[in-house]
Symmetry: C2
Subunit: 191 residues, 2 copies
DNA sequence: TCAGTTATTGACTGCATGGTCAATAATTGA
DNA sequence: TCAATTATTGACCATGCAGTCAATAACTGA
């Protein structure tokens, strides 16, 4: 029917996600994107409409990845304590070369100006919150985790801890500093 | 000897600080600055050299303000618990119309690219850390604050909590959400 | 083989922006 | 009053960038 696309849309989306992750939205130019993906500007326009649309797709992809990983941990056949440990380690060792959290970065870059970006951030927070609540409340039932606060409060608390750690990562804190914060914050909720 | 300056440098620096605080570095143009300060581009160049130099001066001013406020709280004639409460309330009610923390915003915008910005962020974290440690360790001596962790660990912990809250503020979380996080995080360290 | 369709390419446009220049204004000391 | 000095002003410049356009290439179904 027509000329076939010469590149893999999914691969390109992953790569652009990493560029945005590293550099932010405004600081990323089409030149950056074509350099890392090997795809010319106009081809990107054909598939992804806009710079902003492309960015939003990258945000969504990122969120899916984060949630998938978190659910993987939740689905582990182990105690709530071990699940929290697994989460802690996964926060400490980012396999990608990227730092911080794309959505945290985006939230701070856009503030509350961009409706869609804000929505994407809320979505991620809600989903993370849910998974954390599940793990925590099962830990509380086993008397493993303190009952001084509700699972909702503790999930918000952990969520916020993670936000802070994402900032530390991106702003160049040492692994030791981050490790201390994670150990203390996660340890604190154990009864 | 020469023509006197027609504007107050300090006033202008405060105003530019707020613009950068609200909009970030890249998103702020000289037009924005002249609009809010009433001072023309070239005059700003005369006094502050560069956009980046101006930004760095704003960062330093911001840091001084934050530290001053924190030391004010520390110098209060009240218990460590009350001091922590005062800190918590001050985090909850920002008197300026600005959201988040200028230096956190800057850290995320620049990553670790800019030597000076990174240094400024480190400076602030160190200073905050010191004040927090003092309050915490005196609270620990009075058995008010848990001795399960060292004052250094708890100060890092609180510092990170504050980072997270700054992100929440900027990304549009509700006052209730922030209040919950602060209450839980600050409450958690009490023995 | 050809018509229709979509992808690719590179050139182009318009605009915003950081930074500079040169002319002019205001001030003070001699 | 004038010379020296610094502030102010508005015009100007170079650049980088998002987005568009038009020409061409590749593919398929008829």
């Amino acid at each position: 029917m027509s000329r076939p696309r010469e590149f893999d849309v999914d691969r390109v989306l992953h790569q652009t996600m990493e560029v945005f992750w590293n550099q932010g939205f405004k600081a990323t130019s089409y030149e950056d994107l074509t350099r890392t993906t090997g795809v010319k500007k106009q081809s990107l326009y054909c598939v992804f409409k806009d710079k902003r649309s492309l960015f939003l797709k990258a945000l969504a992809l990122y969120r899916e990845q984060v949630i998938a990983k978190l659910k993987e941990i939740e689905a582990l056949d182990s105690s709530p304590g071990d699940k929290l440990d697994a989460l802690r380690y996964s926060l400490l060792d980012d396999e990608t070369g990227c730092q911080g959290c794309l959505i945290v970065n985006a939230s701070l870059e856009f503030g509350t100006d961009d409706e869609q970006v804000t929505r994407e951030a809320e979505l991620m927070v809600e989903e993370v919150q849910l998974v954390l609540e599940k793990i925590i409340s099962s830990g509380q039932k086993q008397q493993l985790i303190s009952n001084r606060y509700t699972s909702i409060e503790l999930a918000s608390y952990l969520n916020n801890t993670i936000l802070g750690v994402r900032v530390m990562e991106k702003s160049g804190s040492s692994r030791e500093q981050i490790e201390t914060v994670l150990r203390t914050s996660f340890g604190m909720i154990m009864s």
